[in-house]
Amino acid sequence: MVLGMAHTQKVTVTLPIDQVAAIRDLVRDGSTASVSGFVTAAVALALEDRLAFEELLDEGLQKTGGPMTPQEQRWADQIIRGGT
C-alpha cells in the first residue's frame, strides 16, 4: 500500500434513487468530492457507530457482572432463534 492511501476495490451497490440524486447534488455544488468519497465516508461512520454501540454494551455488561458467560450466550441464542 502506498503511504497514506487505502487499498480500494470496485464494488456495485444499489442505492435508493433519491439518495443517489442527493449525493450527486452535493458533488455538483462542490460539497463533496465524489460519489465514491461520500459513500466511503458514510461506510466509515456506520462501521464506527457499530463499534461504538458494541463498546457501550460491553461497558454495561462489565458494570452488571462482567462479560457474557457461555451460559448467558446459550440463553440469548435460544431466545433469538425463537426458543428452539
Partner: protein, 135 residues
C-alpha cells in the same frame, strides 16, 4: 433471567417494546445480553416506530438508545397503511386499545421474531403464540 415463553417456533431476531428500550437505557443485564448477542450474530434488532416514539425524548441523554438507532443492525419499522389496518384488526379482535402494544405484536408476527418486553401479560393477550421474554 427469564425463560422464553412458548418456545419452539422458528424466529430469528429480536423485537424491542417500550419496556425493553427503557431496560437497555438503564443497562439491565438481560436487555444488554440479548441485544449484544443478536447484533453479534447478525440478527436484526427491531424497534417498532410507535415504541420508539413513546421512549425517545432527548437522544443527547438517552445514549444507548441513540447508539442503538445508529447501528446498522437496528431496524425501525414504520406504521404505514397496511400495518395500521392490521393493528386495528388485532385491537378489535382482542377488545383492547393500546396501539403501541399492538404494533409491537404485529411487527413480531410479521417478522416471526421474539419480543423482549416488560409487558408479557398484555402482549400475551394480543397473541398467545408469540415468543415473549420478560425484562
Amino acid at each position: 433471567m427469564g425463560r422464553p415463553d412458548h418456545p419452539g417456533r422458528h424466529v430469528s431476531g429480536l423485537v424491542l417494546d417500550v419496556g425493553a428500550l427503557i431496560a437497555l437505557e438503564r443497562e439491565q443485564r438481560p436487555a444488554l445480553l440479548l441485544v449484544k448477542r443478536a447484533l453479534t450474530a447478525g440478527n436484526p434488532v427491531v424497534v417498532p416506530a410507535t415504541a420508539l416514539a413513546q421512549v425517545a425524548r432527548d437522544l443527547r441523554r438517552q445514549v444507548r438508545l441513540a447508539r442503538l438507532l445508529r447501528h446498522t443492525g437496528c431496524l425501525v419499522t414504520p406504521l404505514d397503511r397496511v400495518v395500521g389496518l392490521r393493528i386495528g384488526r388485532l385491537l378489535a379482535a382482542s377488545g383492547t386499545s393500546d396501539v403501541v402494544d399492538a404494533h409491537v405484536v404485529t411487527v413480531a408476527q410479521v417478522l416471526r421474531m421474539a419480543v423482549l418486553t416488560s409487558d408479557v401479560g398484555d402482549l400475551r393477550a394480543l397473541d398467545p403464540d408469540l415468543v415473549l421474554v420478560a425484562v
